[in-house]
Symmetry: D2
Subunit: 414 residues, 4 copies
């Protein structure tokens, strides 16, 4: 379990940090101004020209698709452990990952296509995704059922000759608001009579397929996250060729399991970067403001919180690195306990620290003048996205209980 950076990774990290400082941190106000101008002009769902220009730059610098694991197609791919410090840097600014073509849900979708796609599927969708030319969505969550239990999924995928006909309702389809979003991976049921985990399949659905209709953007604590968006989507009599199924009928649950591990750990790495940034902002603010005759930084209630924050970040980072190392060395399945742990730990950790940072900033903390309110929402939402904390805690607990199952004749040290 060696968490040191190899020289290769350290060099990449420095290069990424320099790019981040020069092109992203320095452009935060410009990006916000562009988005506000778009919104005021009634075209909030227009992609950012600034971001597109930075994508070109990042690609030139070789800071592109860093998330991709090593494979035949990507001989230079990084391990999860190697990607961690890079992903953490990107997490500091919500729109940064896209600059490096490392943003969800495209990353997960690209991994699915890379691992399970047919050559035809890869040619049509993976290549332009890797090139950053199109974007994609992942249609899993449904408004009418507890979707964390995948067996609840109700969307129907019915075979009809050489086609599948899809009927259902999906929401929180992130990225589907973007006009560049060209394809969705849709999870649905192909066989309600199969074993619980073989009823589901995933199919590729071009966004312009007739019958697929975006009803509205779902807001998240008041944010619509345009132009990315979390869309509410109706699928009615949506017809796609059977070749669009991924891996085969009944393999949807299996793909989901494989897809979600890396997706979750990326979220956690980004949250650590976000928490670091919140703590920095907090530390600067309390040193810059005076209340009742002394700097806020001299009140020990803030020492308590800063110390708790530092302890929590350090611990969450180490656990995330361990989970990454487990995934790299023992596989995603063996690492499922560790993945569940960081999925529980990182969002709560970030949420708490960001909340303290907000409190330190007073009104500015909840406003658009700091990145904190949006950061909070992002951490809070990740206590629900990809399964609520409660579901992951049950998974962790069941592994633990199994480890100490009560057997006959065992004493206290078992």
């Amino acid at each position: 379990m060696d968490f040191s950076h190899s020289p290769k990774v350290e060099a990449l990290r420095q290069q990424l940090q320099a790019f981040f400082d020069e092109h992203i941190a320095a452009n935060e106000d410009a990006h916000a101004a562009e988005a506000l101008a778009h919104r005021d002009a009634g075209r909030a769902w227009t992609p950012s020209a600034l971001l597109e220009s930075l994508k070109a730059k990042a690609r030139e610098h070789g800071l592109w698709n860093l998330f991709l694991p090593q494979s035949a197609r990507v001989p230079t791919g990084l391990t999860n452990l190697e990607y961690a410090p890079l992903c953490e840097i990107m997490g500091r600014v919500p729109w940064a990952p896209e600059v490096f073509n490392c943003s969800a849900p495209d990353t997960g979708n690209m991994e699915v296509l890379e691992r399970y796609g047919t050559p035809a599927q890869q040619a049509r969708w993976l290549d332009p995704l890797l090139a950053g030319e199109i974007r994609s969505a992942f249609l899993m969550t449904e408004p009418d059922v507890a979707s964390s239990d995948a067996t609840n999924i109700a969307c129907s995928i019915r075979r009809d000759g050489d086609s599948y006909i899809i009927d259902g309702r999906k929401w929180f389809s992130s990225g589907a608001g973007d006009p560049r979003c060209a394809v969705a991976i849709v999870m649905g049921k192909t066989d309600a009579d199969a074993a619980a985990h073989q009823q589901q399949s995933m199919v590729l659905v071009p966004m312009d397929t007739p019958g697929l209709r975006i009803l509205r953007p779902v807001t998240v604590f008041g944010y619509d996250d345009a132009p990315h968006g979390h869309m509410d989507i109706e699928l009615r009599d949506v017809r796609v060729p059977v070749e669009n199924v991924i891996l085969g009928e009944g393999r949807g649950f299996e793909i989901a399991q494989g897809r979600l591990g890396p997706g979750r750990i990326h979220h956690c790495m980004r949250l650590i970067g976000l928490a670091e940034r919140a703590l920095e902002l907090l530390c600067r603010r309390v040193q810059a403001r005076v209340a009742f005759g002394k700097p806020i930084a001299s009140y020990s209630v803030w020492h308590e919180r800063i110390a708790e924050a530092r302890c929590a970040i350090e611990q969450a980072r180490l656990l995330t690195l361990k989970a990454a190392w487990m995934m790299d060395t023992a596989g995603n399945k063996a690492a499922r306990g560790e993945i569940a742990m960081i999925k529980v730990v990182a969002p709560s950790m970030a949420e708490r620290i960001i909340d303290w940072a907000i409190q330190a900033h007073g009104g500015a903390g909840v406003s658009q003048d700091t990145p904190l309110a949006q950061a909070y929402v992002s951490a809070r939402s990740l206590r629900l996205a990809d399964g609520p904390d409660e579901v992951h805690r049950v998974a962790i607990a069941k592994l633990e209980l199994a480890r100490h199952a009560v057997r006959e004749g065992r004493g206290q040290h078992g």
Copy 2:
């Protein structure tokens, strides 16, 4: 300390509840649809016609200005204790208080004018406010200083002949986004050389005074709360007649102290109603959804939270009633400890319960499909508005420490 409802209050409560059920709860979707239509049409800052029509109805039913304490002008006024159960009902829906002309910051402003205004000030501003014809703002918080320490206030109010000239920057000026907002009470410094708490004054500034410029709406976790709004306002060379000062130069701090007590307790009463609603929604949701083969309500983690929520609401309500009773019987100054306590207790209590309700709702909880995300933001913001929790906790602690000041020769029981 008798918290029972008198027959008068019980009758009012039932009448209000009936009105609320028939006209407000039943109209939530309609109100949201109207607001969305306004926004989509590019006129988000237009007042709600629905709300105006309900105001007329509420006034007809005598459910009007219920917040007003008894006085010569309002012989039928209610005590704080009497108002509590009414205010709690209104708190369930964010736009409900305005229906009864009981919404902040107008309530506080009306109390100030009622108590300290000259007859001319009352005729010009209080009467139309009481009639619900105009709205008002309270310009206190400044972006550049820790405004919870009122001595930090930097806005300058300079005498020039028969006028005051005001220069400063104010934000989180709630209600100033509303086109009906006709007047602001502005807190500023008239004499930087006076004793710390006699430097500030409050003056009435018509919103159309030259030099007063609304720069932008400040958002709160992504919400702009249009058409109410929390505005960022510049005051440059704003000139008003000296008659517009309230109570006299150097009395601003004194007015603020008097104004904020009732305002704070109203917030707490509303938060209790909001928390009750969140708990109801939580209880319904967990009984309506199934995950992993059984209703979510059968998982004991939810029993833990529901029980904690019920305990917390009951306790916060009782403490709020005690604070109200203290204000009524001993005065706002004697009740300052109790007011500080509920100001600390109620927002955190509501925040936590709403957060659990969000968690129980999954994605719906953070979306516009439940009132929970906005409710969360409202509770969260109240941990900052009117002074951050930390400031109130210091106040409570100092009272407590003084009670147990170390004197010579005292044992463990004092």
Copy 3:
């Protein structure tokens, strides 16, 4: 819901406080010294002579059996609401309640005998208990089952002619270590085939009955609480006459329900007194000690805790008073939700405040030089005694869920 003290209660309260200050607070060191001397002399289980002398004084002053509710036998009895402020005072010192013959488990046992005992049972056991001449135990909890679920109780009570024969194992039999303990109320099963809540009965068992054997004192975080004690007791072929059953066979669960309500609220009242004392000690300590150049009281982390403590105590007291008022006016059954709430709230509240007080005291806090460590243990234990928090939370949650049961066609406001 009027929580004011009547003149009668206020007079009693002042009288009790004066007695407490003069005879109990002033004698804490003497009491500890006596106990230590007993222990060093190898007779830790000897009752305190000091305490016996104070009992006589308390009885002379009429401060005796204050816990007893009004009845034919006790025309001057107090309501629960009236008893609350008195019980709170007694709670400040662990051995104080016994001085006033108001200590558990005798109080609960006396209530059972008063309400359900036959005249013969009352003459033999209730009268000497009321006189403070003997003490008693309540044998309910068993080491081998989760006793919070009364249907788990395994102790067998078998009819044999005119006798019952009792076989079982009971522990945490508080007070059974005292040589003056003359009788135990034993809960056991008379009919394993009856309906779940009619299987249990309670019988009176003199402590000197053959077959009843005290195995050892159970310690609580290292304390044996001698001479009171929490004993581990074996009952083997213990024979008592059938007249010793209380209320009748199969009525044990019913008595337990009735007995435990008042017992629980008394615990909570005492915990409030204990928490008040811990907060006082904390406030004195932080004002008396200097660290890193300034009094500990000037560090705002302590302001946070002191304020939280004050808020928590106030709220717990109000909720306890409400529960008492409900018991008095609507009966113990209608008040079961409120009783469960305070049973959950008060021990945790006290535990947390005492823990802070310990932290403020450094090493002294965990030592015998302050009452804090023992106070902590007492609060902590009450999160288990009379049913663990989890069981009470389920009860509260079920009442709440029933209130919001999902029915057809109901909207968000029910």
Copy 4:
């Protein structure tokens, strides 16, 4: 930062675990019975014969003085990182470390003598300590001052010819109750006029020096921890030769800083072992008991806690390993932030998990029938021992604030 075990360490770990299982876990009841027999016979302060016999065995197996860092004297010494998994195993049972001559305060004292002692001091005290023939105490904490601020230390060490004369009062002198305790390291002031951190010195004081008087054992939540003990000690006119000073006059603070780092990390390693054991006991208990018709393990409130516990242990262990690695590679001073972090994290983590385990066990949890109550007390005390959490949090916060000191012209990403 490589946390893998080397083959050497893995072999040691397995050997130690096997010894632990065979000789320690299997002897817990025997050890408790011996201690109880001693106490009942009035000689609680007699060392355990069982433990002495196991010491001999451990030494034979080469499982001896494992804590010792590599040095000229100890060429086979382990790094902190190597020692961590061994120390964790020992932490599962409170008396286990002594079996391996790895128990506090001897370990810290041996390190001091090893690093700073003169050859004569080493010959007289270090050699028999390393051989496990004598034991030692560390007299630092004083009852009358906040000792976490070392400048508060009041004990006077006055030069008089070739002697020092020591006068003071020390308590929580752990291990001083043991009749084998032969020497104490005493911290006191040699020069009240020197710079703040050069006023203190450490001197070696044989326990039988006239004027050194053990006043009493201090209890910790009711435990006296005999025969180890935490003693209250008076030093009056205690005279020792000047050769007994360690390192030189005025070097006491410097030694303390060096001594406390390793001591703290050992405590944390042991706490992790203790927390693991508590979690095991919890998992077994909830699977073994039934309440209200189903195993307690099927209630999801326990899943929440088990998962939280597992997450907390994993994180605390990783942070402790990181701190050990920092100490090994960058030195104790550079690692002071990490040491402070684990000193804050580990005791609270263990305390919380043990508290849950107690709750799962009901009455048994607070009793002598499980190791949990004593484990709780041990974790709780470590939130105070070696400096209260608050002091360490300030240290962590100051490092963090310095990292983000506000300078001119810096933006949000620094």
